[in-house]
């Protein structure tokens, strides 16, 4: 099965904290293929960012990572030396973060921050690195790249800084780009531009993208495959269509009902051909239903399905044991006891 670019099996990441052990990720399987656009969605604290940081091995010292396998490009990440990891980070796996305002070091010029890892990973001379940086800035749509190189982050707008972040992440031609909530901190119009940019890059560079977000709208427009996480576990995964039109997990349903999706609205005006989806949006705008309750305490995770406490279809079994991911369609899996053969019909009313 090693033909995946990245394959994670049974990833568990725990943190030591003052009060005990926080089980942030409790057994997650993820695979990414070259050129794929994977979305990971979930509420804050569901473990999606921690999963990515685990893959990058960028967690703080109080974290411990365990996995049955964590293979990137044929190499076992967990057994690599720190030195090899450094040659992977920023070089083979690029990463961009939520807040472009704070993700760039305020004391160094943009050029400096773009060139330092180019020179490190690609052994470029200063001139080569500069040329590459200019090229990348142009690619991400920044005007007057030469001038911008000499500027400091605070001289740029948020959107532009995120473009710079993308340029930094992409300039070594990584095989995977991990984007951790790249648009959350941006204005709606900028969000769209950034997403567009990421799609273009994915297409042009055949880079796989893992997009982490809690914004279903963003997922809907860009991703081919979606993973829904909750309470440190994967609740459901499948193609965009499967997730949006045939959600098999009550949590996914809840998410779809609770989120106003700007992204789709906008795309709506651009591409009229997805009429069905537009209708969905219409329907959902009429009735926005938040999911009651709050996420589980991962220091003391529930024995059963983490969502049981908030699930309106919860059964007694849900509290006793977690459900395993079960195939519900081609590449569509969901972890819900309702999918058990003994479970009553999905449409049972409460």
């Amino acid at each position: 099965m090693s033909n995946h670019l990245l394959e994670v099996k049974n990833l568990r990441t725990h943190f030591a904290s003052g009060g005990g052990i926080v089980q942030a990720v409790r057994g997650v399987d993820i695979h990414v293929d070259a050129g794929e656009f994977l979305g990971i969605v979930g509420e804050s604290g569901c473990g999606k960012s921690v999963t990515m940081m685990s893959i990058m091995r960028l967690l703080a010292e109080n974290a411990a990572v365990k996995a049955d396998s964590l293979v990137f490009d044929g190499r076992d990440i967990l057994s690599q030396s720190e030195k090899t990891m450094r040659s992977i980070r920023g070089n083979e796996i690029g990463m961009i973060f939520q807040d472009p305002m704070t993700s760039l070091n305020p004391l160094f010029t943009v050029g400096n921050q773009m060139m330092e890892h180019l020179r490190l990973h690609k052994n470029m001379t200063k001139e080569q690195a500069k040329a590459r940086a200019i090229e990348m800035l142009t690619t991400v749509g920044i005007n007057e790249p030469e001038k911008r190189l000499k500027q400091y982050p605070h001289e740029m707008s948020g959107g532009m800084r995120q473009r710079v972040m993308i340029a930094i992440a992409m300039c070594c031609n990584p095989k995977i780009l991990i984007a951790d909530e790249p648009t959350t901190a941006l204005d709606v119009t900028i969000q769209a531009q950034i997403m567009e940019l990421m799609e273009d890059l994915k297409n042009n560079f055949s880079t796989a993208v893992i997009l982490i977000t809690h914004d279903l709208g963003v997922i809907a427009r860009s991703c081919s495959r979606v993973i829904v996480m909750y309470g440190g576990l994967i609740m459901e995964e499948g193609s965009v269509e499967q997730i949006f039109y045939e959600p098999a997990h009550p949590y996914t349903e809840g998410l779809l009902r609770s989120v106003p999706r700007h992204g789709i609205e906008e795309e709506d005006s651009e591409s009229q051909d997805k009429g069905g989806e537009a209708q969905t949006v219409e329907r959902q705008r009429e009735k926005l239903i938040p999911i009651p309750g709050s996420p589980p305490d991962l220091m003391n995770p529930p024995a059963g399905c983490p969502f049981a406490a908030r699930c309106e279809k919860a059964m007694k079994i849900c509290k006793m044991a977690p459900a395993q991911l079960t195939e519900v369609g081609e590449g569509h899996r969901s972890a819900c006891w309702l999918l058990h053969s003994q479970a009553p019909g999905k449409d049972r009313e409460r």
Binding site: F97, T102, H154
Partner: protein
């Protein structure tokens, strides 16, 4: 930048004027004077009057103030009223270099020791190294300087006789004063660096730097330290000013012929011109140091550079 500096200079000038004025009148308001009749009982009142007249002390205070300001405008700080034949300019020129020398050494020591100590403490947070350096740092700011000075004096000058008790000019005379002077700054810098470092390593841009695959040396040495050092830059300005202008306690204990002793002695001697001279010098020096620090800050932190 130029505008920023100009603005700062303008504030400094106003500050100096206020400083001079307040000091001048407060000084004249405190009881006693350089030639008090009580102290010089054996002098005839006429003679005393003549002495006072020589220094212009017979005039109304406002007139004295006007005269002083006029002389000051010409860079003349007057003559000492107690140290006869010495002009205040001479006194400052003679004693400042001494204080500046040990002060600057202490600053450099404080930076050389304090910064690495703070960084280590922050990076190894919770470790034994952290505990040790923090306890040391707390000791540094917990013991009054004069107590430290006395202990060192007692141990190294009296008991062990490793250092001379007085005299000036050679390295052996420098060591104890510099050690005493730099302890508290080392402690402060260590603590400052540690807390700012702890804050900086949590910043997003450090995560970015790591995600770019930079080595830990680059991440800490380039991205973290430069940010963490900013609070220290702010601290170093006043520090340089206060150390270079001498510490009364240290200079008295170790018999250092510096400017710090004038600071207190001139007040208790009521040597008006020296009080004024030292105050003006000290105030101006602080302001210059603060200005330099602001410029240095702007140099390190581009955000400040352009915000002005």
């Amino acid at each position: 930048m130029a505008k920023f500096i100009l603005k700062r200079v303008a504030i400094s000038v106003v500050s100096m004027l206020l400083l001079i004025t307040v000091t001048f009148f407060l000084m004249h308001a405190i009881p006693g004077g350089p030639f008090s009749p009580g102290e010089q009982k054996d002098l005839k009142p006429e003679v005393l009057e003549a002495i006072r007249a020589r220094y212009g002390l017979d005039l109304p205070v406002t007139q004295q103030y006007a005269n002083y300001m006029k002389n000051l405008a010409h860079g003349d700080l007057g003559v000492s009223m107690k140290k006869t034949n010495y002009t205040v300019n001479e006194l400052l020129a003679g004693s400042f270099p001494v204080s500046a020398q040990i002060g600057m050494l202490a600053v450099v020591m404080a930076l050389i020791i304090g910064i690495p100590l703070g960084i280590i403490a922050a990076l190894k947070r919770g470790s034994a190294a952290d505990m040790v350096s923090m306890v040391l740092a707390t000791i540094g700011i917990s013991i009054p300087t004069f107590v430290i000075a006395m202990l060192l004096m007692y141990l190294f000058c009296m008991k062990l006789a490793w250092f001379p008790t007085f005299g000036w000019g050679e390295a052996k005379h420098f060591i104890l004063p510099v050690v005493c002077l730099c302890l508290a700054p080392i402690a402060n810098i260590t603590r400052l660096i540690r807390s700012s470092m702890l804050e900086v390593v949590r910043q997003d841009y450090i995560r970015t730097a790591r995600a770019k695959g930079l080595s830990e040396l680059m991440v800490i040495g380039k991205h973290a330290i430069r940010n963490a050092i900013l609070p220290v830059v702010t601290y170093v300005g006043p520090l340089v000013a206060s150390l270079m202008t001498g510490s009364f306690a240290i200079e008295r204990m170790f018999m250092v012929p510096g400017i710090g002793r004038y600071f207190v002695n001139s007040v208790s001697d009521r040597d008006y011109t020296v009080i004024m001279g030292v105050t003006i010098f000290y105030g101006a020096f602080i302001m210059v140091c603060t200005l330099l620090v602001d410029i240095a800050y702007a140099w390190i932190d581009p955000r400040v550079r352009f915000d002005s």
